[in-house]
């Protein structure tokens, strides 16, 4: 990562230009050759700094109108063993262990599930519940009702 990589990120974080030769257009914007843009983008991708390149859909617009953040209070000595199993369920799109914020927030395992209806999401939550068994003390599902912002990363120029 150097200043040119940073300029590349600033130039592309909002999206790729919709033109025939997008990498050359970016190169013109930041003052390097298109080949150099491609070489650096490939290096950023190989290094995991770019997770992927492609389309980011609005879930609602493509039919996933129920989006639930399922949250679980899993006993501390089981959460790291059960978390990967929950994450491996085919319908879970992200899963993390996070700190509790007691007393307001007892949950330490988060898993996102999606569906065309809340019934579909709660059926998926039941599968997670079954997998966690006695290790889970309490759980909840927080449905999103509005996207307030979805721009993604924005670092300063």
């Amino acid at each position: 990562m150097d200043e040119i990589d940073r300029a590349l990120i600033v130039a592309t974080q909002g999206g790729l230009p919709l033109v025939a030769r997008p990498y050359h257009t970016i190169g013109e914007q930041i003052g390097i050759a298109g080949e150099e843009v491609m070489r650096r983008m490939q290096a950023l991708l190989n290094g995991g700094i770019i997770r992927r390149i492609g389309a980011v859909p609005n879930h609602y617009a493509i039919g996933w109108t129920a989006n639930g953040m399922t949250v679980w209070d899993v006993v501390d000595d089981k959460v790291d063993q059960l978390g990967p199993l929950v994450g491996a369920l085919p319908f879970v799109t992200h899963s993390y262990r996070r700190p509790r914020a007691l007393p307001a927030w007892p949950y330490n395992l988060f898993a996102m599930v999606h569906g065309s209806s809340r019934e579909e999401c709660s059926a998926k939550a039941l599968e997670i519940r079954a997998m966690l068994g006695d290790a889970c003390r309490t759980n909840d599902i927080l449905y999103s009702t509005r996207i307030l912002k979805k721009t993604g990363l924005r670092i300063g120029a």
Partner: protein, 152 residues
């Protein structure tokens, strides 16, 4: 919401990753999808304008650059919801923000270029809104693969 065409669905289902890095990447993808480069570019433009896609391009993992992502939440009084939304969304560090049904009714992701940027953004939101921010940094990532096929 606008109806999706067969081409739209193909784009959504095949283009959530692995967009090529080459001189004419749209031409390469278009050929794979059996459409023209122009048709692909026009479809992407329309899907973005209609907000079916929120973005088209690279997704950066800021943690690999020394930065941080943190999930955070607020309990916003209903009477102040619009005002607080505007204050929170005004920060460029707020990458996504969702309204959710819970006492903690606003959930957002902070993305900052440095580790210290998170505390700064949290302090700024607390000062601007007068509300306590609950921060939930990830302690472990068990799985991330945010790809959903078109269901319409």
């Amino acid at each position: 919401m606008p109806e999706l065409t067969a081409v739209d669905r193909q784009i959504i289902d095949n283009l959530q990753g692995e967009f090529p890095i080459c001189e004419r990447p749209y031409a390469e993808v278009a050929e794979r999808l059996g459409i023209s480069e122009n048709e692909l570019l026009q479809s992407l433009e329309r899907l973005l304008a209609d907000k079916v896609l929120t973005r088209f391009g690279p997704m950066y993992q800021i943690e690999r650059m020394g930065g941080a992502f943190v999930l955070a939440a607020l309990a916003v009084p209903e009477t102040r919801y619009e005002e607080v939304t505007a204050l929170v969304n005004a920060l460029p560090q707020v990458a996504h923000n969702y309204r959710r049904e819970h006492a903690l009714n606003m959930w957002f992701v902070l993305a900052t270029e440095t580790q210290g940027g998170i505390a700064e953004a949290v302090a700024r939101i607390e000062r601007d809104t007068g509300l306590a921010v609950y921060a939930f940094p990830k302690e472990r990532e068990f799985f991330v693969e945010m790809k959903l096929e078109a269901r319409l």
